[in-house]
């Protein structure tokens, strides 16, 4: 019955923007809390959705992002133990030999007492960063930024192309360097050491320069930048709107993610930025004759996935605004943080994305083969 009323979507790739909205929503939620249980839950949700909906053959940057997160936690703990943090706790775990510093360095110390509260605070802060990284890793795994680049607004088309070309060039340069180094060995050199590195640079640079020229010739003869019917005024207007919009979005996101900045820098700035960017898009696109091949559709699953990502962000922001208990757990004295059920439920909503989104085609095929 239910299956008929809510048919599961046919296997296809979800619009990359939907995944990014979802992941950024989760990241915003993570940035608002230091409750380790909630953060662990967010990472678990991100990881589960990646396991459920990552296309076969896509790279999985989630693991390296998680490793960087662990490293961030460790680094933070070590720094706090060595230099002391903002939290002065009562339960002293052990004492490191302290280096006396002059009086003007008040607040900074080297060595000394290491407290349980201080360490826990460091772990929580580290976990917050790790959770945000995990969300970004999940977005990368679910929809590669390269796919997202296809949706840059027409006004930013040139920038988008440049980024795509750069993404292709970087691995080619690495390959070139390996080849030049191998050739260096043919001349009887080991290809190691600083002087050798200098020797390698010239052929690699010359090679990539030649390739750039040949790519430019190819793009030119395939009609790149051919019929830009934009007038000077509209170009200038859309350019200004784009820059203003991007600035707005960046500042707005910063305001949202940094809980200490004034409220005005948050949502209102973001909305203004998005509106301005949309204006630029409209002005630029109106006169842009280029067409795009095979755009991913934006349908019900895209709306649902984006919404499920935004729910925890909204809940967490509300919670911060009204200082709900459990979002920022108390740290002195150390206590088991409470579990706010409402927030947990909102994070669980984000996990629904792993069910509501369509299964990627290759993954669907392999699952059928297994079944």
């Amino acid at each position: 019955m239910t299956a008929r009323r809510f048919p599961t979507p046919l296997p296809r790739l979800l619009h990359p923007a939907a995944w990014w909205v979802w992941a950024v929503g989760l990241a915003v939620a993570a940035s608002r809390t230091t409750n380790p249980l909630l953060l662990a839950l967010i990472v678990a949700v991100a990881a589960w959705v990646v396991v459920e909906r990552r296309e076969i053959g896509a790279t999985n940057p989630l693991v390296p992002f998680l490793l960087i997160g662990l490293f961030a936690i460790g680094l933070r703990v070590v720094m706090v133990a060595l230099l002391g943090g903002g939290v002065t706790g009562r339960v002293v775990l052990f004492r490191l030999p302290e280096v006396p510093l002059p009086a003007w360095t008040s607040g900074v110390r080297l060595g000394g007492a290491v407290t349980l509260e201080g360490l826990l605070a460091a772990v929580y802060e580290g976990m917050r960063l790790a959770a945000i990284l995990a969300c970004l890793g999940a977005a990368n795994a679910l929809a590669s930024p390269r796919r997202l680049l296809r949706y840059v607004p027409a006004t930013l088309y040139e920038v988008g192309t440049a980024v795509v070309v750069a993404l292709t060039f970087a691995p080619q340069m690495v390959e070139d360097a390996a080849r030049v180094r191998a050739a260096r060995r043919l001349r009887g050199h080991s290809g190691r050491g600083m002087r050798e590195l200098g020797r390698l640079a010239v052929p690699v640079l010359v090679g990539s320069l030649e390739r750039s020229l040949s790519l430019a010739a190819s793009m030119e003869s395939r009609g790149y930048g051919r019929v830009v019917r934009r007038t000077a005024t509209s170009t200038r207007l859309s350019g200004m709107l784009t820059v203003a919009g991007l600035l707005g979005v960046v500042v707005g996101l910063y305001g949202l993610l940094d809980a200490t900045s004034p409220v005005l820098l948050g949502v209102p700035m973001l909305v203004a930025g998005v509106l301005s960017a949309a204006g630029a898009l409209a002005v630029g696109a109106r006169r842009d004759p280029r067409t795009r091949y095979r755009r991913d559709p934006w349908g019900a699953p895209e709306w649902l996935v984006s919404l499920t990502g935004l729910v925890p962000a909204a809940a967490m922001s509300l919670g911060t605004a009204f200082s709900w208990p459990g979002i920022v757990p108390q740290q002195v004295p150390a206590a088991l943080p409470p579990v706010p059920l409402g927030i947990v439920a909102s994070i669980a909503v984000a996990a629904l994305a792993g069910v509501l989104s369509p299964v990627p085609p290759l993954l669907a095929r392999s699952r059928e083969a297994v079944a």
Binding site: T168, R199, A217, S221, R222, G223, R292
Partner: protein, 545 residues
């Protein structure tokens, strides 16, 4: 369709020329008219301006490359002086020599759609045309694959498809098959032929390996010493062309008129010759290696790269005086075998020996005394600012007496300007310079990876002579090549690799003559007789008359 009216191209003198401000003329006074639906072949020696001529057609010369264009080039009524290449993109598709360097996106489908996106083809029509193009070029099963993972032939077909999808009436290709193995090349050329015959597309091709294309051509344009001929009949053009494939060489030697261009025509003409030759006593085979101890050997060599097995238990021993041609399709493991011999890849299993030295983990300086390799792109081992510096650097690198490399170079190509920058040399001269650098320390084994890429027949002939003299002086030569004609000329032994395994290993005549893909033209014409080159036939018939 394409009209050249008294067209010439010249560049204002660069710093290399004696007086500043003087100009170098690439070619001048080219006048011809290419009608619609023709396949026209541009023929000329290396550096004669073939690429420049092709680039005039879509306006890359002078809009992109600079230089001065004299005269008028009109393409379907559009003057290239007032139309930039991008304005001609819907009319002329341009395919460059190295497809990988022309790709803008990273998957097959997106690359094919790219040109249409730039031209603003509407989304539905674009979708349909991408599908049609995928089918037309036989790329449907690789549509989602990253371009870097494709084979050379597939990449070349994607490059053709990418310009073709935009619906041009003219296709211009600069050496489309020079990097391809014979089978992949045949694939690409068959595709071109189909475009001309089924869709009436006008195709202009420049190609060094005439043996692959001449029989497809409707007309030929000859470029020599800055002079451009009009549209010539291929058979007539070949009578006087400075560069010609073996089939024409055979025809000229036997004074056939008109010259046959395809193997089929030549076989029909060759009945009499075949009878004469069959009656002769068998000619002595090319001197095989002197035998004795192997100077380079691999034993049960396997190399794994990620999930693919590049080489699978290959055993091979190369003796002094041998010239071994390693053949096989793109990606069969030829280059891996060569790199393995100089210790650049670590064997997964098996052993490599250069005389008594194990190159794996050996000091590069020890390896180069025993085995020297010229890589596929010879400029990779050239670093200096001038030819003279390069030679001096090589003397230092190998600890030789000053001037050794220079004298080796003088022996290979006399009269190379020592002040020239290695990058300004022609392809053939650059190969020679790289060879001189490698040969200076007199390694027992000389390895060459695709040495004839971009070489015309004259440069190839010099290379063949050089390799023969090396072999006669006791060096062992190993070359990885797609060029069956080169293998036929110079190899004493041919090793064919497929999927990393040795599938054939034997005398050149036996291996090459028996294979449909790797048989040289002369062998195809005179089958079942075991003749591989024009010289052999001439020697035999000369003795007969």
């Amino acid at each position: 369709m394409i009209e050249f009216d008294a067209v010439g191209v010249s560049y204002v003198g660069d710093d290399a020329s004696a007086e500043a401000g003087s100009s170098t003329t690439v070619f001048s006074d080219a006048t011809f008219r290419i009608p619609e639906g023709e396949l026209v072949l541009v023929v000329g020696p290396t550096g004669s301006g073939k690429s420049t001529l092709l680039r005039c057609i879509n306006g890359l010369v002078p809009h992109f490359s600079g230089g001065t264009l004299h005269g008028v080039v009109t393409v379907a009524g559009r003057d290239t002086r007032t139309h930039r290449p991008r304005d001609l993109a819907d009319l002329v598709g341009f395919v460059v020599q190295d497809p990988m360097s022309s790709f803008v996106t990273d998957t097959v489908e997106e690359e094919i759609a790219y040109g249409m996106e730039a031209l603003g083809v509407d989304a539905t029509a674009m979708r349909r045309r991408v599908e049609e193009t995928l089918d037309l070029l036989g790329l449907a099963d690789v549509r989602g694959r990253p371009l870097r993972d494709l084979s050379g032939g597939q990449q070349q077909r994607v490059a053709i498809g990418a310009v073709l999808a935009a619906g041009p009436r003219i296709l211009v290709l600069d050496e489309p098959t020079s990097a391809l193995d014979p089978v992949a090349a045949e694939d690409v050329l068959a595709t071109l032929n189909r475009l001309v015959h089924d869709l009436g597309v006008t195709v202009v091709v420049a190609e060094h390996r005439l043996e692959r294309v001449i029989h497809h051509a409707d007309h030929v344009i000859l470029i020599r010493d800055g002079e451009v001929s009009g549209l010539l009949d291929p058979a007539e053009a070949m009578v006087s062309s400075p560069i010609y494939p073996p089939i024409i060489g055979l025809g000229r030697a036997l004074r056939w008129s008109p010259l046959p261009l395809s193997i089929r025509d030549a076989r029909r003409r060759a009945g009499e010759v075949r009878d004469t030759l069959a009656a002769l006593p068998p000619s002595p085979a090319l001197a095989a290696g002197t035998g004795g101890d192997a100077v380079a050997a691999v034993e049960g060599l396997s190399v794994r790269r990620g999930s693919t097995v590049a080489l699978r238990s290959v055993s091979l021993a190369v003796c002094r005086g041998e010239v071994v041609a390693v053949m096989g399709r793109n990606g069969a493991g030829k280059s891996t075998l060569l790199s393995g011999l100089v210790g650049q890849v670590r064997p997964t299993r098996g052993t490599v020996r250069l005389g008594t030295l194990d190159p794996v983990g050996a000091e590069p300086a020890d390896i180069v005394r025993r085995a020297g390799m010229v890589p596929q792109d010879p400029s990779l081992i050239l670093y200096a600012e001038s030819v003279a510096d390069e030679c001096a650097a090589a003397d230092r690198d190998f600890g030789l007496r000053a001037g050794t490399t220079a004298s080796v170079l003088a022996h290979i190509v006399p009269g190379l300007d020592p002040a020239q920058h290695p990058r300004d040399l022609s392809e053939g001269q650059r190969v020679s310079l790289a060879l001189a650098v490698i040969l200076a320390s007199e390694p027992a084994v000389v390895l060459l990876d695709e040495p004839t890429r971009g070489l015309d027949y004259a440069a190839k002939r010099r290379l063949v002579e050089l390799l023969r003299s090396l072999a006669s002086r006791g060096h062992a030569v190993v070359l990885a090549t797609h060029d069956v004609e080169l293998a036929a000329e110079v190899a004493t032994r041919v090793v064919v690799l497929a999927e990393g395994e040795v599938v054939a290993d034997g005398g050149a005549a036996a291996v090459l003559a028996g294979s449909p893909a790797f048989a040289p033209q002369v062998s195809k014409i005179l089958h079942p007789l075991h003749f591989l080159t024009v010289d052999q036939v001439v020697a035999a018939t000369g003795a007969a008359s």
